[in-house]
């Protein structure tokens, strides 16, 4: 009986939190700075985690966090009138879009030029590709190596692959998140996978 009560209490905790978020957002919109700070404290980790899906350096992650919350602050009115039921989902959408903008900015900058793989990294990748089976042993792909490989993809490709394979979102959810059509998401995902396979084939 106690266990059932505990489960139902946990299940109802999420809507209560969302309701509290909506109340805080309403207060923040009316100029209550403490309410906005509370929203920041509640959601900063999630926004930072979204940014860290795309960026390795801490200052880049912080930049996305700052920009996301700034954008959210000025768009609080849209949250109240929009279709988003959850503040967390609405903020996540802002964070993904800010990350995407930052990826595009980075791609345009000359210092964002592609980094070459070290011999050791190339050897690791080659070994991973030669071993068959999902439970293949060997040195795992490092984050640095993965970032260097993914830097060869376009920001759109990278975003779609992360949303599909890491965030585990459906095509419809991604379409809603990025304001794309479902078919655009599918085509982009297909092309992105093909592109990544071509990048990896060079090391096979």
């Amino acid at each position: 009986m106690d266990e059932t009560a505990d489960i139902s209490a946990r299940a109802s905790a999420q809507p209560v939190l969302e309701r509290a978020d909506a109340e805080l957002a309403a207060r923040a919109r009316e100029g209550d700075e403490a309410a906005f700070e509370e929203l920041f404290l509640r959601h900063r980790r999630r926004v930072a985690l979204i940014a860290a899906r795309f960026f390795r350096r801490r200052e880049q992650v912080e930049e996305v966090v700052q920009e996301s919350f700034t954008k959210a602050f000025f768009a609080l009115g849209e949250f109240a009138n929009g279709r988003d039921a959850s503040f967390a989902a609405w903020l996540a959408r802002i964070a993904f879009n800010v990350s995407y903008d930052e990826l595009r900015r980075q791609k345009r900058r000359p210092e964002g030029a592609l980094e070459e793989l070290t011999e050791e990294e190339a050897a690791t990748l080659s070994e991973r590709l030669r071993v068959e089976g999902s439970d293949a042993e060997g040195q795992a792909v490092s984050r640095d190596l993965a970032a260097k490989l993914l830097a060869r993809l376009s920001p759109e490709d990278r975003l779609v692959l992360v949303l599909l394979d890491v965030e585990g979102l459906s095509v419809a959810e991604i379409a809603g998140l990025l304001n794309w059509t479902g078919s655009k998401v599918k085509v982009r995902a297909h092309r992105a996978r093909a592109h990544l396979r071509r990048v990896l084939e060079r090391f096979l």
Binding site: E33, E37, F40, L41, R44, R45, V47, A48, L49, A51, A52, R53, F54, F55, R56, R57, R58, V61, E62, V65, Q66, E67, F69, T70, F73, F74, L125, R128, L129, R130, V131, E132, S134, A136, A140, V141, S142, R143, L145, A146, A147, L149, L150, L161, V162, D165, V166, R193, L196, R197, L200, E201, L204
Partner: protein, 143 residues
């Protein structure tokens, strides 16, 4: 048959490693924790909000000015049309000679001799003495 199997295995490896690469690139919990716990992060967010607010207010100022200018354009056009209509209705619509700003109006009565002296010599007099000697020379010639 063996070729197909090799190809399937190769595709499978590529697909598996591709997913591995995507997951590895996105595994940034450490960076996320560090960034979220960064000191003064909220203060920096507030500073950015204030900066953005100031920027927007400046932009709004320019927009207001542009709005005023935009509203002024039709008013100025109406004034111009009225002025033209008034001008055309007041007379023939041609400028009278007395209002013209010709050379005579600007310089007063024409001094024929002086004009001739100046225009006769294509060489530009370089100083005051040369000018005087030219005028005196021309006067003596006319006598």
């Amino acid at each position: 048959m063996a070729g197909e199997k090799f190809s399937d295995g190769r595709e499978g490896s590529l697909e598996r490693v591709a997913r591995e690469v995507i997951r590895a690139s996105a595994a940034g919990e450490g960076e996320a924790q560090a960034a979220a716990g960064s000191p003064f992060l909220y203060a920096r967010v507030r500073a950015r909000i204030e900066e953005e607010r100031r920027r927007r207010e400046e932009g709004e100022g320019w927009l207001a000015l542009l709005g005023v200018a935009w509203r002024a354009v039709p008013a100025m056009a109406v004034v111009a049309v009225l002025a033209l209509a008034l001008f055309l209705s007041s007379g023939t619509g041609e400028l009278t000679p007395g209002y013209g700003l010709g050379a005579e109006a600007l310089l007063g009565e024409r001094d024929g001799d002086f004009e001739q002296v100046v225009l006769a010599d294509t060489r530009t007099p370089s100083n005051e003495d040369e000018v005087l000697s030219t005028i005196i020379g021309e006067g003596e010639n006319s006598k």
